[in-house]
């Protein structure tokens, strides 16, 4: 259904009525259910695994250990998440590491038998936790950009600046915690491997498994049309996917594996804790003269997963001098992974909190301070911005929120037992652009079929793609069927990094445009009329979009301004978000209905980061302490408050031919800083670590 606000998602009714088939809902004849056995120690070696009781338990088909598994070839990292290949030897490198697999006729039988597997460990050593390890320059293949960057004379700027803010921040370990746990169903036909997988990137799964098993990629077939939430934990490829495929090969029958909720806390990544230090030097007029941002995050022992919290700092504000550094600590923990929103999602908490402190030191309005430091060109690359509607976001956000009525003094808005506070922050996000291909077919029955190997992870992508094709072909969007989530379809990138609308959308745009031109060469009118006039059943076109062909000379990012009102019960230390205004400039918004929902979800995600989410790494046990959703708090409906989302007019032809950029992560950025700044305005207490909890405010 098309409305003034956009296209209602075609996948909605099936999801709402529970008929959507997710990976684990699939079944094939002869399958066995399997359960992973996880290491219960953080560091050591397996001396033995006694699986005799498990093997004789009811329904058990097999208990597999490293001795039974094929040796994998080493796939590239990423898309393999962790170069520690699973079940290859006796090394235990993190608590929760898969050490055995039990296959049985039912899932319950497999679970029971898994509880009977008795591993014995040797050479145990205590886990090195974050804060206990050496701070090092990251290396390895997770490096998006150079860890260090400097220009200008920071020292001289510091000496000459009237106001200097130097503050440190902390963020904690967080877990993605989608409702759908990771799940894989795998089977082999000779040397042909098929998977139903809960994956944000089917092509990455195919490439990784093909490499691991020494197969040409076209012998690996991966399906993942619908994902029940990923938020980054289903982006790269994890141990369970390799293990399931290997088990299916060893057992010679289909194997289904669903991670337990507890295994979701160790088996597919987490957002690692960070320590950040920010230095802002400014003149009395508020103009920044120097910016420093230094960051350390917890990494595992392998691959140096790095949070580029300093990324956005490189382009956000005009400054003649900048110095950033990005470091890690190698710790004994599972592999961290990108989590909505990585990099800037963490860094903007620090930078935008520090900017608020600077505004207070200057006696300047926080919005005015941001406007004062708007750059003409990207301060690091000196490239022009492809589009940068941040000024419009700030002004529109302030207007919608009623910011001008804000008394600047903290504790100036009491309300009964509570203190109200208003805070704001800027959001910005990298624009990851991934190439994609798509096929569009017009049929004589009036239907249009779009085929693209992308994934619907809950964002509403099929509606976006239908709108793009419908617009080009001038047909109703309801007549467009979108097929996705299958490696048989033209290849697209991951649904990750806010990239899918640009990638898959631009590919659909290109294919639909080619089809339109081909149709135009045959005649005029609606596609079906042309086909019928020519006696053709259908006509199709396929095209590829490659971002390398445009935008290389531009600084391409997304922007937003977030304004929040908090209600703080200062006596009891409780913070609630009354309302939030988010105004975003993120290119052309193709489906405003879904885009608004995305941003509401993003802001809610940021609210969780700010006030609730925390995974405690228990250093004595070397594990994430609480591996269930009762022990990992995320916002409930009662926490969320009013959210007002809007987009300023923006069209970025450098980012994509659609003029669109990505929004999925942007909504989660800046919320934590806006909330922390609002808490300061309410209480005069500056909280520089997340989440903000009762003990900060008593």
């Amino acid at each position: 259904m098309s409305t003034l606000l956009g296209l209602v998602r075609p996948d909605g009714p099936a999801k709402l009525t529970g008929t959507t088939r997710y990976a684990a809902d699939n079944s094939v004849p002869g399958l066995v259910f399997s359960v992973l056995v996880s290491a219960t120690v953080p560091c050591g070696r397996l001396s033995a695994i006694d699986s005799s009781d498990a093997a004789s338990a009811p329904g058990v088909v097999a208990v597999l250990t490293s001795a039974d598994m094929p040796r994998f070839a080493v796939p590239p990292v990423p898309p393999l998440a962790h170069s520690l290949l699973p079940m290859q030897d006796d090394v235990v490198a993190y608590e929760g590491q898969p050490i055995a697999l039990v296959a049985a006729a039912t899932r319950e039988q497999a679970e029971h038998a898994a509880s009977l597997v008795r591993p014995r460990y040797t050479d145990l050593t205590p886990a090195v936790a974050f804060g206990m390890s050496e701070v090092v320059v990251p290396d390895g293949s997770y490096q998006l950009v150079e860890p260090d960057l400097a220009f200008g004379d920071v020292g001289a700027a510091l000496a000459s600046s009237e106001v200097v803010v130097r503050v440190s921040f902390r963020t904690v370990d967080r877990h993605h915690s989608p409702i759908e746990p990771s799940a894989t169903l795998a089977w082999w036909d000779g040397n042909h491997l098929t998977l139903h997988d809960a994956a944000q990137g089917i092509s990455a799964v195919r490439l990784t498994l093909a490499t691991a098993f020494g197969l040409p990629p076209d012998q690996v077939h991966v399906r993942s049309p619908f994902v029940g939430g990923g938020f980054g934990c289903k982006g790269y490829v994890h141990a369970h996917q390799l293990i399931t495929a290997a088990a299916a090969r060893v057992l010679g029958r289909p194997v289904k594996l669903v991670l337990s909720r507890a295994q979701m806390f160790t088996g597919c990544g987490h957002q690692p804790a960070t320590r950040q230090t920010v230095l802002l030097a400014a003149g009395r007029d508020g103009a920044l003269r120097a910016v420093e941002h230094h960051s350390v995050n917890a990494a595992s022992r392998a691959d140096d997963y790095t949070e580029f919290t300093t990324a956005g700092t490189r382009w956000l504000y005009a400054t003649p001098a900048l110095r950033v550094s990005t470091r890690i600590e190698r710790c004994d923990r599972p592999q961290p992974q990108p989590m909505r929103a990585p990099h800037e999602g963490l860094g903007m908490f620090a930078i935008e909190s520090a900017m608020d402190e600077l505004a207070y030191r200057l006696g300047m309005d926080p919005v005015a301070l941001r406007l004062r430091n708007e750059p003409e060109l990207d301060p690091t690359t000196t490239q022009p911005f492809s589009s940068r509607p941040l000024r419009a976001c700030l002004l529109e956000g302030a207007r919608r929120f009623g910011w001008e009525a804000r008394p600047p003094e903290p504790r100036s808005m009491p309300s009964g037992n509570d203190l109200l506070g208003w805070g704001m922050a800027v959001a910005t996000m990298e624009t990851f652009r991934l190439p994609a291909s798509a096929r569009v077919r017009a049929q004589s029955d009036g239907r249009v079929v779009v085929e693209v190997g992308t994934q619907e992870v809950g964002t509403g992508l099929p509606a976006v793609l239908a709108l793009v094709a419908a617009d080009v072909l001038d047909v109703p969007p309801e007549s467009v069927e979108v097929r996705h989530g299958d490696t048989c379809l033209p290849e697209a990138g991951m649904t990750a990094g806010s990239s899918a609308t640009m990638g898959a959308g631009s590919a659909v745009h290109a294919a639909a445009s080619e089809l339109r031109d081909e149709l135009a060469a045959l005649g005029s009118g609606r596609p079906a009329d042309i086909l019928n006039a020519k006696g053709l059943g259908s006509l199709e076109a396929q095209a590829r979009w490659d971002p390398a062909e445009s935008g290389a000379d531009r600084s391409i990012h997304t922007y937003g301004a977030v304004f929040v009102e908090v209600r703080v019960d200062a006596e009891l230390g409780l913070v609630r978000m009354n309302r939030c205004v988010g105004v975003y400039g993120a290119g052309r918004i193709i489906n405003p209905l879904a885009a608004r929902s995305q941003m509401i979800g993003g802001i809610t995600w940021g609210l969780g980061q700010a006030l609730l989410e925390r995974s405690t790494f228990e250093p004595r046990l070397g594990r994430f302490l609480s591996k269930n959703l009762a022990g990992y708090l995320m916002p409930s409906n009662a926490d969320v408050g009013d959210i007002d989302v809007s987009f300023v007019d923006d069209h970025d032809p450098h980012a994509s031919p659609l003029g669109a950029k990505g929004i999925g992560e942007l909504g989660a950025v800046g919320v934590a800083a806006a909330l922390a700044n609002a808490v300061f305005h309410a209480t005069a207490v500056r909280v520089r670590e997340l989440p903000i909890t009762i003990e900060h405010l008593l």
């Binding site: 009891l572 046990l621 302490l625 609480s626 022990g631 708090l633 926490d639 009762i694 008593l698």
Partner: protein, 321 residues
């Protein structure tokens, strides 16, 4: 197995290794996490123990009454707001519609070491295994009454409200019925210690709540970071009687601070004669009961939070909060 009547339920309970299931919102968790491994699960949902009766003497809540039914009962809501408020602050609507009064007070701690998916050092999971929480993350742990063997807190909101109302639990076995006050329902934590006084062959059949004096006012204040569907960091249940603005009698019980609802008896004495508007006097009186607190490294804030929550609850109950 499913019990057809109380007598056959009590007969079945004599078999060792039998756990009772009613709403199932807690036992099923135990089964999934390996916390309970019963040989038999006895379904008691057909037993006639679900009545909610209100009279001038007080309330009688059948053990099988659903939390949502009790919360919505008009007499409970009118005369025992502390009870309705505690129930409505518990869990989620879906859980309250399933969970029973008897099951609620039989809940076990939410201590993350106890609830782990694998056995961590926890005397409640394996007697003698030690208590990893004592030297670990103690934020959610007790500030009163803990022992080196167990520092966990009891999670029930309802139990806190029932304790402040001086409620009594009716227990029945094949030999007869006995009544245990809520204040003596939970046992001191220790290695191999029982959690409650309920014997393996006993069934919780009802909770009785004595009537409150007409002038008494009550309130349940739950402090938690998530606005809904979360256990208390600290909670305070209060019943207060006043002569004008002066407190004549009060009962104060804290939740989230000990292995059982924790009564602030000294504070109740100290509050006699205090004017409800005198904040400093209220704080000082409540503090009388907090001098015995023994906070752990990560939960020192709970002592001050408990004081503030109690004062707030008193003032809200008295209509001045």
């Amino acid at each position: 197995m499913k019990a057809a009547d109380v007598a056959s339920a009590l007969a079945a309970l004599v078999t060792p290794g039998t756990e009772v299931i009613a709403g199932g919102t807690e036992l099923v968790n135990w089964l999934k996490e390996g916390i309970a491994t019963p040989d038999w699960v006895l379904d008691i949902t057909d037993l006639p123990l679900g009545a909610v009766e209100a009279s001038s003497d007080g309330l009688r809540l059948g053990a099988l009454a659903r939390m949502s039914e009790v919360a919505a009962h008009p007499v409970v809501a009118r005369d025992y707001p502390v009870l309705t408020e505690a129930l409505l602050a518990s869990a989620s609507p879906q859980l309250r519609a399933m969970a029973t009064i008897g099951g609620n007070i039989m809940q076990r701690t939410r201590c993350p070491y106890f609830r782990a998916e694998t056995l961590l050092p926890c005397n409640q999971r394996v007697a003698g295994a030690g208590c990893a929480a004592l030297e670990g993350d103690t934020r959610a742990q007790a500030i009163f009454g803990w022992t080196p063997e167990c520092v966990a807190t009891h999670p029930s909101d309802l139990a806190v409200a029932l304790t402040v109302l001086d409620a009594t639990v009716a227990l029945r076995n094949g030999a007869g019925t006995r009544a245990v006050p809520m204040s003596r329902f939970y046992c001191q934590p220790g290695v191999g210690a029982r959690l409650t006084v309920v014997e393996p062959d006993e069934l919780v059949t009802a909770v009785t709540v004595p009537g409150l004096p007409p002038a008494a006012r009550s309130h349940y204040l739950k402090v938690r970071e998530r606005a809904s569907y979360e256990f208390a960091v600290v909670s305070a249940a209060v019943v207060v009687e006043m002569d004008g603005l002066v407190i004549t009698r009060s009962r104060l019980v804290l939740g989230g601070v000990a292995h059982r609802p924790w009564r602030l008896a000294d504070a109740e004495v100290a509050l006699r004669g205090v004017e409800i508007g005198d904040l400093e006097a209220l704080r000082a009186a409540v503090a009388c009961s907090l001098t015995t607190a023994r906070p752990l490294p990560d939960n020192r804030f709970k002592v001050e939070l408990a004081r503030r929550a109690t004062v707030r609850a008193l003032r809200v109950a008295a209509g001045v909060g």
